[in-house]
Symmetry: C4
Subunit: 227 residues, 4 copies
Amino acid sequence: MTGAGDEGTEYQYGLRSEMARDASRVEAFSDAVIAIVLTLMAFELLQLGPQQPDQPGLAGALIREWPAYLAYVITFAIVGQVWLTHHNMWRYVVRVDQMLLVLNLLLLLFVAAIPFAARLLSDNLQGTVGDQRLTAALYVGTALGEALFFNLSWWWARRRHLLHPGLDPRLARAVARRFLLGPLLYLVAFAVAFVDPILSLAAYFLLTALYVIRGPGDLPSSRPRPS
Amino acid sequence: MTGAGDEGTEYQYGLRSEMARDASRVEAFSDAVIAIVLTLMAFELLQLGPQQPDQPGLAGALIREWPAYLAYVITFAIVGQVWLTHHNMWRYVVRVDQMLLVLNLLLLLFVAAIPFAARLLSDNLQGTVGDQRLTAALYVGTALGEALFFNLSWWWARRRHLLHPGLDPRLARAVARRFLLGPLLYLVAFAVAFVDPILSLAAYFLLTALYVIRGPGDLPSSRPRPS
Amino acid sequence: MTGAGDEGTEYQYGLRSEMARDASRVEAFSDAVIAIVLTLMAFELLQLGPQQPDQPGLAGALIREWPAYLAYVITFAIVGQVWLTHHNMWRYVVRVDQMLLVLNLLLLLFVAAIPFAARLLSDNLQGTVGDQRLTAALYVGTALGEALFFNLSWWWARRRHLLHPGLDPRLARAVARRFLLGPLLYLVAFAVAFVDPILSLAAYFLLTALYVIRGPGDLPSSRPRPS
Amino acid sequence: MTGAGDEGTEYQYGLRSEMARDASRVEAFSDAVIAIVLTLMAFELLQLGPQQPDQPGLAGALIREWPAYLAYVITFAIVGQVWLTHHNMWRYVVRVDQMLLVLNLLLLLFVAAIPFAARLLSDNLQGTVGDQRLTAALYVGTALGEALFFNLSWWWARRRHLLHPGLDPRLARAVARRFLLGPLLYLVAFAVAFVDPILSLAAYFLLTALYVIRGPGDLPSSRPRPS
């Protein structure tokens, strides 16, 4: 298969499209995992909501469950952020090898643990100081594991020439910087969560706004050329 | 990457197909989220059904759970409608930028909350007037949030020239009108739900029928040309 | 958009590939829904298994839950069958319109209800005669609804010329026959389930074997021609 | 459809791309099922974690639940391994027939049962010897079923010429060997689990590391040729 490029255009096209299918499949599989994680919290909401059908007031029951809604919004934001980062990284990946697939699976292992960590965090917002510290440490560990495997994936893809050959090296560096920066900022937000959850939520939305404003910098803004 | 169009056909083809992959991935990810939301209610049914295995009569148990079946059908219809709208919008999107991805994620945040809102609504159909008003307000809020981000996505995609260059401007306006109209009609249906759930169900099916009858207007009806 | 074919090859290619993306997206969305339904029963198993951790013997507990395992295998087989039928149908669909999307969503509404119907059936295998008749009727209703919308989809796709123009009319008729035949055979199997669940399971595996043996008839068996 | 190759390049391209879509759809559907299975254990974690909110110490509650975390990591690794194997196999499949689809569905039937088997195993790590033997046997049965249908799929795809015509026969044999080898190694790991779960976890990570190190051997390592 290695020397296939010598055998003519038609056949080579087949091989190239097969490689593109490879990368597409990794994206599709990661998308499915991330989408399930994203909706797991919505499912949790579904189970929380009606567990007190005999409560005197629905409004009171809903208000008492605010940590669950906080966990839903925060988890949605964090997993959404993971998807954005994954999307921005994999659009430049044109080939895969065994190690990149394994690194991607390890990334997904930590992504799939986010709802569990978020749930523990929201359940213990009003718990003892020791429990708060433990859940915050678990959350930080999940975020760090995820950041570690994003950075390892990008480093491996660059080292093994798995990226699009036309990718601007400055853009590659900008993407690497974002991979390092993003998780760091969210770690700060969650260190704040350890002190004050409301302040952390505010910090989180500020960071997301900043991310959105400076985000389009690494995406081509030229118009498509149809001919 | 911006000036890539000057470097020759082969390379440009690569870039263009990469952009198409971008939009496809957003569709695939949104599809996964919407599909999970669509089946969440089926999962709820699964949990409701057998919780009274020692009931004297199964028929009675099933009939007493009618609000859950109503919620299943209504949620399926609403989420199906969201998918149709998403499908009709994204078939014209050929490029994405960071902001459009964020707007799409915010849309999905509200879509994923639909089963929760529907469950609250169905649980409180026979509750106090105050609880009915609260759940109706939550439902309307979810629908409004979803409609808001559909409209923002389309407005942003038009403003930033992310749509197919061959898209007829009249068609773009028709799509925008549909985005505004659809949610409004469903709001009316659910305002009726606040008064009478059975009447609302009838109104809902009428609206869906109308939507289906006038639907094909913005889809090309020409036969494909194979050569 | 209707007259786009006059504007040149490049543009037309864009439109054609956009249409192909349309059909692909319907497949991807349906796949996600069917995959979730397929694994819902596995999730049910997960919840059933450990609910008696304090039982004297695990083997006894597992054996007492045999209706759940029967429901898992039967549902997997039926939903797998639905996926095969959907796959065989949509490989010939090259364009979609609003009505076909709505028919496909209604099909998915019934597909998503299969685990609920299967669970009711397995829960009431040892119930009263009245409950058995009710659950059998619900199951038959689900299967009939699914069969109805498969047949309506195919009829609509043929009527509105949404199929691949190179599709052999005899093949189109064979596919239509299969759509009518398949559900009928499964109805027979479940009518038998009403009399004797073990006999029904045997009948089911026989029918699946027959389906597999005569299945490849409508799929091209020629070798691919790479040049 | 069999004689379609004679009718010209354009039409043939349509047929060939339709076939590629066929294989892509099988991948996408399998991906969705595997992704759901992969995240089912994460969902289990979510349900386990907060069930003791009134426990004196969170740390103690988390530590007491270690079999659930072990089951999460092991299941993630095994299902990840299944995905890698599926990915490595299907990248060479360019056409599908009815039997290959059925074999793939039967494979997914066993894959979807992995979380159930893993849960039973982790629940009975500290149970009686008889229960341990039963759960180990169920686990081994699940793994063997999965391995059986991977091998049958590959054998059928080779026999019916459904693989990429440019696939090196030595590579095809190497893939077949991996399909036989992988499950055998995991069986050994789980035979060890029957004796000592901690030793088994160590053995598992060793095997995964070996798999990763010798893995890239069957993937092309040449750089892509853009022209």
